[in-house]
């Protein structure tokens, strides 16, 4: 299983793996918003938390179709299915590798991008905590979507349509934590809800993803 994790990270970092793509996309989205909104720093400070969360979510979406599609195309998914690794574990490891190469960089970069959007000072802590708790759910839910669409040529668009609605609860509570933090309000309730969603997704979805993959491999 560690071998699978190392391989997936290696593949992501090597040429054509898409590491950094999500981060660059995040940067561009965040940099474009002030151009769209206009030079109103008060308004920007108000919407910064939401924009950062939305940007992170879209950046996460960008690399989802690579989770299984490449392994499907070159046949390694068949071989993994016959390997002595339970499918549930393989799916979890792949989701974790996706988070390490996409979600974690977004979490680390978010405070810097917050500067670009004039995020108020008290908002930085809650923003990072909410992303740290929320992005694993994005990866796990995305892995489920990727498992559903594996084997469909150019399935990326369908994947987005399937996954984005499932991202709504995470987005609501994650952005709420960041917004309340920026406005110096208590944010414990949405934070607990966010953590609950993430724990639930991590606990349940790998089983669904593995079941769906087994059906898709037939």
């Amino acid at each position: 299983m560690i071998a699978l994790l190392i391989r997936d990270i290696r593949l992501a970092v090597r040429a054509g793996g898409g590491f950094g793509l999500g981060l660059a996309f995040f940067l561009i989205v965040v940099a474009l918003v002030p151009f769209g909104v206009g030079p109103q720093s008060a308004l920007l400070a108000k919407i910064a938390a939401g924009i950062l969360w939305l940007g992170a979510l879209l950046a996460c979406l960008l690399s989802l179709d690579r989770i299984f599609a490449l392994d499907w195309e070159d046949g390694s998914l068949d071989l993994l299915a016959t390997a002595p690794v339970p499918m549930e574990a393989a799916v979890s490891v792949k989701a974790f590798a996706h988070w390490l190469t996409t979600g974690l960089p977004l979490v680390l970069a978010a405070p810097v991008f917050g500067l670009l959007l004039n995020l108020p000072g008290p908002g930085y802590g809650p923003l990072v905590v909410s992303l740290l708790l929320g992005t694993p759910a994005l990866s796990v839910i995305g892995t489920f979507g990727a498992a559903l669409t594996v084997g469909i040529k150019r399935g990326g668009l369908l994947l987005s349509l399937l996954v984005l609605p499932l991202y709504v609860p995470t987005l609501i509570f994650g952005a709420e934590v960041a917004r309340r933090g920026a406005e110096e309000m208590a944010y414990h309730t949405p934070l607990l809800m966010l953590a609950g969603i993430t724990c639930g997704a991590i606990a349940l979805l790998p089983f669904a993803s593995a079941a769906v993959l087994r059906v898709n491999l037939r």
Binding site: L79, P84, R218
Partner: protein, 205 residues
């Protein structure tokens, strides 16, 4: 160790292609499946390897005994030959890749990115994975595609070594491998007759 398959029926895309397939392969034996394109060799092999469920019938060994090699080799182009093989060695818990490298003469290519290999060399790397799995039953689907004469001999040698070590092999191929001891099973008599599936899946077809 013996692989007993009895009265197996398999379907592809919801359409039954083979039925009543029965054979048995014991340790040290190889069985070659023959038949025209589309007769269901790949489907049968995938079913035996546990990648898809059988319509009916019994496969006498659990899927943990099988190592499967299909049409595509599962090679990552950006990883080197060593990294590709070592990954499968780690996944299957065998650890060592030297016997596999030796069997398919890959020592000279070990640090090359797999994407830079020729089609035949990729195939050799894909087959070397079978050695690395350390599993007793090799299920091979057209293993000799794009191999030259020398590589085919290399492959036959690897299969012989595997059989001599108490393993068994089940393969679909159109060419003569030079494995005189291999038995041949013609698939044509097992062609499925009944075209209907009357079960849960059938309701969606």
């Amino acid at each position: 160790m013996e692989l007993n398959v009895s009265e197996l029926a398999v379907a592809r895309g919801g359409v039954p292609v083979l039925e009543g397939v029965s054979f048995s392969v014991s340790a040290g034996e190889a069985l070659v499946l023959r038949g025209p394109n589309g007769c269901g060799k790949t489907t049968l092999l995938r079913t035996v390897a546990g990648l898809q469920p059988a319509l009916s019938g019994v496969i006498g060994l659990e899927r943990e005994a099988m190592a499967y090699a299909g049409h595509s080799d599962g090679i990552k182009a950006v990883l080197s030959v060593r990294e590709n093989l070592q990954f499968w060695a780690d996944v299957f818990g065998t650890g060592t890749i030297d016997p596999a490298l030796a069997a398919f003469d890959l020592h000279g290519l070990i640090d090359r990115p797999a994407g830079a290999l020729s089609a035949g060399q990729k195939r050799r790397l894909g087959l070397a994975r079978m050695v690395v799995t350390g599993r007793p039953v090799w299920v091979l689907d057209e293993p000799t595609v794009s191999l030259d004469m020398d590589a085919v001999a290399m492959f036959a040698g690897a299969v012989r070594t595997h059989l001599a070590g108490g393993g068994l092999a089940l393969m679909a191929t159109h060419i003569d491998l030079g494995l005189d001891e291999a038995r041949v099973l013609d698939m044509r008599p097992f062609k499925a007759k009944a075209p209907s599936i009357d079960d849960f899946d059938g309701a969606f077809l």
